[in-house]
Symmetry: C2
Subunit: 116 residues, 2 copies
């Protein structure tokens, strides 16, 4: 997972509507939910919902399939696992998450940056 995708996924979840859409779909599991049902669940106009679903889909967090007239959205759990993996590997270093993460590089002294 490259940085661009990480940023896109983080950005997708960093919005109240999209986060609740995502959590709604997590609850539902692989079965997913139709666009209409999601719209009802979060109270958004259809076209606004599409906007957010596309964002989530572009980021790789959601997957779409057609089922007759409805388009069913469901979460791609691998994507979330990858995202969490990225965070624990690259953005944690100390305290409690250290068990699962390799410790951060110990900040080499010979760096062009001086502390003050």
């Amino acid at each position: 997972m490259d940085t661009v995708q990480v940023i896109q996924a983080l950005g997708a979840l960093a919005h109240a509507h999209r986060l609740s859409i995502y959590r709604l779909l997590v609850e539902r599991g692989p079965a997913g939910l139709s666009a209409g049902a999601i719209a009802e669940g979060v109270g958004l106009a259809p076209s606004s919902l599409t906007f957010h679903l596309q964002n989530l889909q572009r980021s790789g967090l959601l997957v779409q399939r057609r089922e007759s007239r409805s388009l069913i959205y469901s979460v791609d759990f691998d994507a979330m696992n990858t995202l969490v993996g990225y965070l624990t590997e690259n953005c944690c270093a100390g305290s409690s998450c250290a068990i699962e993460c390799k410790p951060a590089k110990p900040a080499r002294a010979g760096r062009k940056i001086k502390a003050a």
Copy 2:
């Protein structure tokens, strides 16, 4: 950690400059880095950097302290752990992360939402 804070933290990291600022500081650990050093590291105008540092700080991911003339920024590892915790608890449900997460509620049938 309430939803608002989660969204703020996710949004803070969902930007190329801020993510690299954060990762730079993770490397440095609790010692942190002065604003000037960060600016040099990521190649931003001072005032632009302040903008991003404030965003990261507001979100709780960063902590600021003064050291003589310099302001030193360092990551708050607890905040990241909390964030990762939220994601694993609320946004994972299937596959590999299931070990640490309680499995998702099995999508009760008696819901006002119909699948299609």
